[in-house]
């Protein structure tokens, strides 16, 4: 009886670890994928600006700088919030009134 429970325990543990690993992987995959999306959006934005607002090399460089800065700022904001929620130390505790 005890051995059955123990083996069940081991089995459940393995599933748990597998699930949590999947979750972890999903977390990291999500992070990488969205980071790539930010990168792609930034590149597309700079290309579009180069095509539509081509006003000489100095202005082009300025536009590029602005777009890179904006992309980096926006990515940082998202990444910080995402990372903070990946492995939270506290969880939502609902209010009594709800």
């Amino acid at each position: 009886m005890n051995s059955m429970i123990k083996s069940e325990q081991i089995y459940l543990d393995r599933i748990d670890r597998q699930l949590s690993f999947n979750v972890r992987e999903a977390n990291e995959m999500g992070f990488l994928v969205t980071t790539l999306i930010f990168l792609v959006v930034g590149v597309i934005a700079s290309l579009v600006t180069r095509i539509c607002f081509n006003q000489g090399p100095s202005t082009n460089l300025l536009h590029l700088t602005l777009i890179i800065t904006a992309t980096v700022c926006c990515w940082m904001m998202w990444a910080i919030v995402y990372l903070a929620q990946m492995k939270p130390l506290i969880v939502p505790i609902l209010n009594d009134t709800e």
Binding site: V23, A26, N27, G30, T34, P57, S58, T59, N60, L61, L62, T65, L66, T69, A70, C73, C74, M76, M77, W78, I80, V81, Y82, L83, A84, Q85, M86, K87, P88, L89, I90, V91, P92, I93, L94, N95, D96, E98
Partner: protein, 820 residues
């Protein structure tokens, strides 16, 4: 590194290259050349006659004439305004009307206007008097034919005072007596004075008369039908017509004096009815004559004013320009031969050809034989700073300039401010509902750009209009941050999928005690909507936002230090790179860069380490075992290394630089004491005020050392205080979120809970007002101010010196903006 050098230079990053030019104008073409340069607007003249007072300068009489003309023009503008005429738009600019002709015309017009005004006043005064006389004739006649008359008296609008009622019977008998005995009895019997007095003074007037005549008088009054124009205050006042019956010469004198005091005008009214009617007819006809005359006069004046008004703006511009040209000519010096004017000015190197072309055009137009000489000079003085901005970048440049204008060719923080300023604003403002409101406002301003740009706005609207592109970016970033914080008027939405949290079991029994559990992958974009309304929302969000503030702060400060590296590289200052940039980077990143790293590692691993503990004990007991606060392998050793680096960095940035500077200075000026002969070879006969003269600097070691010490201490202490200062990003964001929640829950939801429509509407109105005024206006200003402070102090003190001066070229278009 070569790649960076080979990149095309960004105009906005460093100010334009300027050159000091010397111009030599032949006297006859000076005026025309300066005028053309003013139209071009690319040269800033240096004042070579700085020490002279305005009255010692060459062209002072012309300046005075221009000032006199502008005074006349202001007088015209005033008159037009008083007459209530709209200033009409000027027709297309006519070619130069010469100044002397304009002066004569203006003098003529002024003379004419003054005369017209004086005549008009006189006419108006006589008109008033006649009008008063007419009214008195009518009303006094009524007084005189009351009750005693045979031909039934119509009740007039007599407003007799109470006590006169008692005397009324007496008067009647007196009058009857008087009528029955015409002639001499009028001289010995009751006499009267009639006149008109202001309604406000009537009561005290009456009392005064009563006291003066000891009650032996009868005072009849009746309000005048129309208002009269009071010439002194230029407005219509109500007047009262009165008649005073009295007897005796003394009483007459007293009454006349009292009338004078009270400003009551007395008019002789004949007692005879027929005569009265005659006089009334005369007065009426004269009145109508005067009316026509007055009207004709007004029309004539309006016509003159309109004709002046159509050319007024053009004349004003002309006079302003002439005055500006003469002011500029006053800055030039006559040379030895007195045939040329010599001037110096700063201009961008790129504008050289345009300036030369303008000067050639001036020479050609004047048909002068001699051209204007234009050549470049060297200078010791630092050139002015000139950034070429468009309507999008100019408000940001103004924001940076408000703190300090960039030194010549140092890195311009405006390039990064264009993005980071609205972004930091948005971090503090983050609510996409409010962001959409701001966006609508910004779009409104931008679509009405042309119309709002041409009219004159109030000072608040002008600031708002000037910053419309800043507002646009602020709103766009606010929408983004609002989506990240997941707040729409403080309400979270499930836009990006379902929440990552759910109950531990099906009954959700312990959701209020232990809480939910994270079962799935992290919410992909932004803060999970399950957090809103939970009890542990604030601890989580506070921790998140504080750490976020530190991360942003360390990043922006690092950017600032990197910009100081590029500045040092541009100016060829390798001393700064080795002994300032490197130790600064080391110090900041060993401490606060390490903290940022710890934050990220803690998030990624989900460790329970206490970062306060780690950071504090890194200083207090660096060699102690970390125990449960260990985040990664090798942390203890790394901490010791970082601490040692930071400690070494402080004397590294403090000591070497002053000593090396001293050595360099003594090497450079070693033979200087023998070189004085070389200095006197320079031709210093012409321009005593020129910027070319070099001077030997003396090197004060103690001053340099103290300066370096202050700089280092400022940096070291500032590293802690500036990093903490970035926590205002957390504080304002929290305040905004809490205010928003309160208004939503305690106003809107509360009001919506009732079934009554009136309560709901009131609640909606209160919510709208509170959101508009407190959240949209006050919070916007507050976040704007704090983001500004973060840029001005924490970001810019890492690299910006900001002690330059702005390039203000002599330009006619700048004149139009200046005055008013």
């Amino acid at each position: 590194m070569e790649y960076i050098d080979n990149l095309p230079s960004m105009d906005l990053m460093r100010s334009e290259k300027m050159m000091l030019a010397q111009l030599i104008f032949p006297v006859e073409s000076a005026h025309r050349a300066v005028s053309y340069l003013g139209q071009l607007g690319l040269l800033q003249f240096r004042d070579l006659n700085d020490e002279k007072s305005p009255y010692q300068r060459t062209f002072v009489s012309q300046v005075k004439r221009c000032a006199e003309m502008s005074r006349k023009l202001r007088f015209f503008k005033d008159q037009i305004h008083k007459a209530g005429l709209m200033p009409s738009s000027s027709p297309a600019s006519q070619p130069d009307i010469d100044l002397e002709g304009l002066e004569v015309r203006l003098a003529d017009h002024e003379h004419e206007l003054i005369e017209m005004n004086a005549n008009g006043e006189k006419l108006q005064q006589s008109y008033n008097e006649l009008l008063e006389f007419k009214m008195i004739l009518q009303k006094a006649g009524d007084f005189l034919v009351t009750n005693g008359s045979h031909n039934g008296v119509q009740e007039t609008e007599l407003d007799e005072h109470k006590y006169t009622n008692n005397d009324h019977s007496d008067t009647v008998s007196l009058l009857e007596q008087a009528e029955m005995q015409p002639g001499p009895s009028y001289q010995s019997g009751v006499k009267f004075i009639s006149g008109i007095v202001c309604k406000s003074k009537c009561l005290s007037f009456e009392r005064m008369l009563f006291r003066a005549t000891r009650g032996n008088m009868l005072f009849n009054q009746s309000p005048a039908k129309d208002q009269i124009l009071d010439p002194s205050s230029n407005e219509m006042v109500e007047k009262t017509i009165f008649t005073v019956f009295f007897s005796g010469e003394q009483a007459r004198k007293k009454i006349l004096k009292i009338c004078q005091t009270f400003g009551a005008n007395c008019y002789p009214v004949p007692e005879d009815t027929i005569k009265r009617m005659q006089i009334t007819k005369e007065v009426t006809s004269r009145l109508s004559e005067l009316e026509t005359t007055l009207e004709a006069g007004l029309r004539h004046r309006d016509m003159v004013l309109t004709s002046i008004g159509s050319q007024l703006t053009m004349w004003m511009n002309m006079v302003k320009r002439e005055k500006a040209i003469y002011d500029t000519l006053n800055m030039l010096n006559f040379d030895v031969t007195k045939k040329c004017l010599v001037g110096e000015g700063w201009c961008p190197i790129s504008a050289k050809t345009m300036i030369q072309e303008a000067l050639q055009r001036a020479t050609f137009d004047i048909s002068s034989q001699v051209g204007v000489i234009f050549h470049v000079m060297d200078s010791i003085e630092s050139p002015p700073t000139y950034f070429r901005t468009n309507r999008f970048t100019s408000p940001y440049q103004e924001i940076v300039d408000a703190y300090g204008v960039a030194k010549y060719q140092e890195a311009n923080p405006a390039v990064y401010t264009i993005v980071t300023f609205p972004f930091l604003f948005a971090v503090m403002f983050g609510d996409w509902g409010h962001g959409i409101c701001l966006l609508l406002g910004a779009l409104l301003l931008i679509t009405r750009e042309k119309r709002l740009g041409s009219q004159k706005l109030g000072s608040f609207m002008e600031m708002l209009f000037g910053g419309r592109y800043v507002l646009l970016l602020m709103s766009l970033f606010s929408i983004y941050c609002g989506l990240v914080y997941n707040e729409f008027f403080s309400v979270p939405f499930h836009i990006f999928g379902s929440s990552a949290y759910k109950c531990r079991d099906a009954t959700c029994s312990d959701s209020r005690s232990v809480g939910l559990i994270k079962y799935g992958s992290t919410y992909p974009f932004g803060v999970d909507p399950s957090w809103r309304g939970s009890r542990s929302e604030l601890p989580f969000l506070n921790s998140l936002k504080m750490k976020m503030s530190i991360l942003f702060g360390v990043t922006q400060m690092n950017l600032g230090i990197v910009l100081s590296y590029f500045n040092a590289r541009f100016f060829g200052n390798s001393l700064d790179i080795k002994y300032q940039f490197v130790p600064q980077m080391i110090f900041l990143n060993c401490l606060f860069g390490y903290l940022s790293l710890l934050i990220i590692i803690k998030w990624c691993t989900g460790s329970q380490a206490d970062l306060y503990h780690v950071m504090i004990y890194m200083f207090l007991s660096p060699f102690e075992d970390l125990g449960e606060n260990k985040l990664f392998w090798g942390q203890g050793t790394l901490q010791v290394i970082l601490l040692l680096s930071a400690v070494i960095a402080v004397p590294w940035m403090l000591f070497p630089k002053p000593f090396i500077l001293k050595k360099l200075h003594s090497e450079r000026f070693q033979g200087q004491s023998y070189g004085i002969l070389g200095v006197s070879e320079m031709s210093n006969d012409e321009e005593p005020d020129s910027a070319r003269r070099p001077h030997i600097e003396d090197f004060n070691f103690s001053e340099v050392f103290v300066h370096q010490m202050i700089h280092s201490i400022e940096f070291v202490l500032g590293a802690v205080s500036n990093t903490a200062s970035y926590l205002r990003l957390w504080a304002l964001s929290l305040a905004h979120s809490e205010l928003s929640t309160v208004f939503y829950e305690k106003v809107l939801l509360l009001a919506w809970g009732y079934d009554n429509l009136a309560v709901r509407l009131v609640g909606l109105a209160v919510f709208a007002f509170a959101t508009a005024f407190i959240l949209l206006m006050m919070e916007t200003l507050s976040a704007f101010l704090h983001a500004l402070r973060l840029h001005w102090v924490e970001f810019q003190n890492k690299f910006y010196s900001g002690d330059g001066y702005k390039f203000r070229p002599f330009s006619f278009s700048a004149l139009a903006d200046d005055d008013d």
